[in-house]
């Protein structure tokens, strides 16, 4: 990683920042923060859209427009040069509508623009207030902004003509805007929603953008639910959330994360070709991801704002470098947050997960609340020795009930073990790079408070066994005490390189057993997600 540049460092590309908007907008004095959108750059005048099928405006905020003609307002940082440039568009979430939330992501837009990405942050403030269920409307607004960029890209002689790469788009949302980007990813493929046509005939759509990834910062989940059921994000999905979040305090986005790119029980070896990645940031709160919003936590509870913004720049910067600029080496940061240790604020603690598009499940646990089994098509058996292994629908992160089964492992004696014996002819481990497991500890009494949990991963082929301490792959942090409510159990992805097994004499073609041996802590409770071979 030493050859890589810190993705939070400004690049060398010069850029200009423009306001875009749809004047005339007679904002009253109480909404004077929005007056900037009444004088956009002359080249960046937009239109209005009708979101009345999705959302009403708060009746106690004196917006100078109705829900049938809301403006497309925003700030955009445009790199100098011919392009075409990838596009990243940020959206805020719910907040006091009398404060303009939009500029709160300019610090990220400027970073991305300096690396050659057109980066915008959009005005969805008119949907803010004491309302609920409007996140489909936020998604439509987000997609309509993308459409505006497509229009400019296709319009000579607009300054953005031919400069927007519409097949490299990253949409990022915070809070309710974070839930909305998931819906936007889903809506992007639709021709209609209910009775509302998205084909352009009634003003909305068509969309069908090339979304490289969807990123959610401390999102909500299921405040809006399509008639087809909870939204399953079809694009690659990135999630970041803070342990001290005192607004979205139940890590709602983890439910979105678990629904995205999960195992298809009918075709467990088939992947949809997308990745998902998650970063849980100890001591980050909700509001400090937006540079405008005042911190919602008392002084001293959360990390300093500058640290939190730096973390956002490092990790969202790495995501953008990887998916928008084809710098695949930055995927290492998504695969393992340890790759960014030199760039993150000193002492910051994280838990991360990553699932590659190329994965082969050995044990996914989604067959049902049965005794643990090895997952088809892998043939094998599961045995326990002094370990109570129970499949559970435990809400690891609080909030609504989960639909993802995890394996709860409890031991009370050194040397206890969970053993998976597999038929090597059914497990093509040699085709993959790491063996991957998700594990996290709880705050139950048999885990020592504030101490990392640990165990040994034993992998055998024939007579050769590799014994790898989990702690050599990653720390299994004790859960950070939340501002209120139960602590979240966030599993850490452990990636054991197959190469390392080979160095220990294990033959991946003849891999016969994988064991979690609890020989490093006398007692404990951990939750395990899926075990897979991956890339």
């Amino acid at each position: 990683m030493t050859s890589l540049k810190n993705p939070a460092s400004a690049g060398e590309v010069q850029f200009d920042t423009f306001i875009y908007g749809a004047p005339p907008l007679a904002y009253p004095v109480s909404l004077s923060q929005y007056a900037i959108y009444n004088t956009p750059d002359p080249a960046y005048i937009t239109g209005r859209i009708n979101v009345s099928a999705f959302a009403n405006l708060g009746a106690s905020t004196p917006w100078p427009f109705s829900n049938t003609n809301v403006p497309l307002n925003g700030h955009v940082c445009v790199p100098h040069g011919r392009g075409p440039f990838p596009l990243a568009v940020f959206a805020h979430g719910n907040h006091n509508p009398f404060e303009n939330s939009t500029p709160g992501y300019l610090y990220l837009c400027r970073l991305l623009a300096s690396h050659g990405i057109i980066a915008a942050t959009i005005d969805v403030n008119f949907l803010n207030g004491s309302n609920f269920g409007e996140n489909d409307g936020r998604a439509i607004v987000h997609l309509e902004h993308l459409k505006q960029f497509r229009t400019w890209n296709n319009t000579a002689p607009h300054p953005l003509h031919g400069k927007v790469d519409l097949n490299r788009i990253l949409i990022v949302g915070h809070s309710r805007g974070g839930e909305a980007v998931g819906h936007a990813s889903f809506f992007n493929r639709l021709a209609s929603i209910g009775g509302v046509l998205l084909d352009g005939s009634a003003g909305l759509g068509p969309y069908r953008f090339g979304l490289s990834a969807v990123a959610a910062i401390a999102p909500t989940d299921r405040q809006f639910t399509p008639v087809s059921g909870p939204t399953v994000v079809p694009d690659s999905y990135y999630l970041i959330h803070g342990s001290q979040d005192s607004d979205v305090f139940t890590f709602e986005g983890y439910h979105t994360y678990e629904r995205a790119h999960g195992v298809d029980l009918a075709n467990p070896t088939v992947s949809d070709g997308k990745f998902r990645a998650m970063l849980w940031v100890h001591k980050a709160n909700h509001n400090q991801f937006n540079s405008i919003w005042a911190s919602e936590t008392p002084p001293g509870v959360a990390m300093p704002r500058a640290s939190q913004e730096e973390i956002a720049k490092v990790h969202l910067g790495a995501l953008a470098q990887a998916v928008l600029l084809d710098r695949a080496e930055y995927m290492d940061v998504l695969r393992d947050h340890g790759a960014a240790v030199a760039w993150d604020p000193a002492g910051a603690e994280f838990v991360s997960q990553y699932q590659d598009p190329e994965r082969f499940f050995i044990q996914h646990n989604q067959e049902g609340l049965t005794v643990p089994v090895v997952s088809l098509p892998v043939q094998g058996t599961v045995a326990t020795d002094n370990v109570v292994a129970t499949r559970q629908l435990t809400a690891l992160v609080g909030g609504a009930p989960t639909t993802t089964i995890t394996l709860r492992l409890v031991w009370s004696a050194l040397g206890s073990r969970l053993l998976l014996r597999v038929d090597p002819s059914t497990l093509p481990a040699q085709l993959y790079k790491p063996l991957v497991l998700r594990v996290g500890q709880s705050t139950e009494a048999n885990n020592a408070a504030n101490r990392d949990q640990d165990f040994t991963l034993e992998v055998s082929s024939g007579s050769r066994t590799a014994a790898i301490p989990a702690s050599s792959l990653h720390r299994l942090l004790y859960p950070d005490a939340p501002p209120f409510g139960p602590a979240k159990i966030v599993m850490q992805t452990l990636r054991l390189p197959i190469e390392r097994l080979v160095e220990c004499g294990v033959d991946p073609i003849d891999l016969r057993s994988i064991a979690l041996v609890f020989d490093r802590r006398a007692t404990g409770t951990v939750y395990a997600g899926d075990l897979q071979c991956s890339n």
Binding site: S52, S130, F224, E296
Partner: protein
């Protein structure tokens, strides 16, 4: 820090109002789905609150007993939602309004959805008068 507390409801009323263009489209779509004709009326359920919930992201989902109200909006004295199908009142009359943040833990407001008479009255009025005689939603929400 303390977890957020649910809003306190002080009163609920149902007022029949003119549908907006979007409402009319939604009524047509719903009529087709249900295969029965729905009146061109929007019942605005105004939920007066002691204090409106803060404009944060987590928010409080509103339920009538176990039925989630999918969307609600803000007006000066509280929140409101709209009902397009009068059958909703027939099925949920007298049931309690509840708040939840996770669909598991509920906070009973102690306030019930207005009795069917109130809703029926509105519906009956609507039937007797033309839609145009109904108030605009904007006026109902003042």
């Amino acid at each position: 820090m303390q977890p957020p507390k649910p809003p306190k409801i002080t009163a609920v009323e149902v007022i029949a109002a003119q549908p907006t263009e979007a409402d009319s489209a939604a009524i047509a779509h719903l009529s087709a789905e249900l295969n029965r004709s729905l009146p061109q009326v929007v019942n605005v359920v105004k939920v007066r609150l002691k204090a409106k919930p803060p404009a944060t992201s987590m928010g409080w989902a509103l339920y009538v007993n176990d039925v989630l109200i999918p969307k609600y909006w803000e007006y000066n004295d509280g929140i409101y939602f709209t009902v397009l199908d009068p059958q909703f009142f027939a099925e949920h009359k007298g049931k309690r309004l509840r708040f939840s943040q996770n669909g598991v833990d509920f906070y009973d407001s102690g306030v019930k959805l207005p009795a069917p008479a109130a809703a029926s009255k509105s519906k009956s009025k609507a039937a007797k008068s033309t839609t145009a005689r109904l108030p605009l939603q904007a006026d109902v929400l003042k």
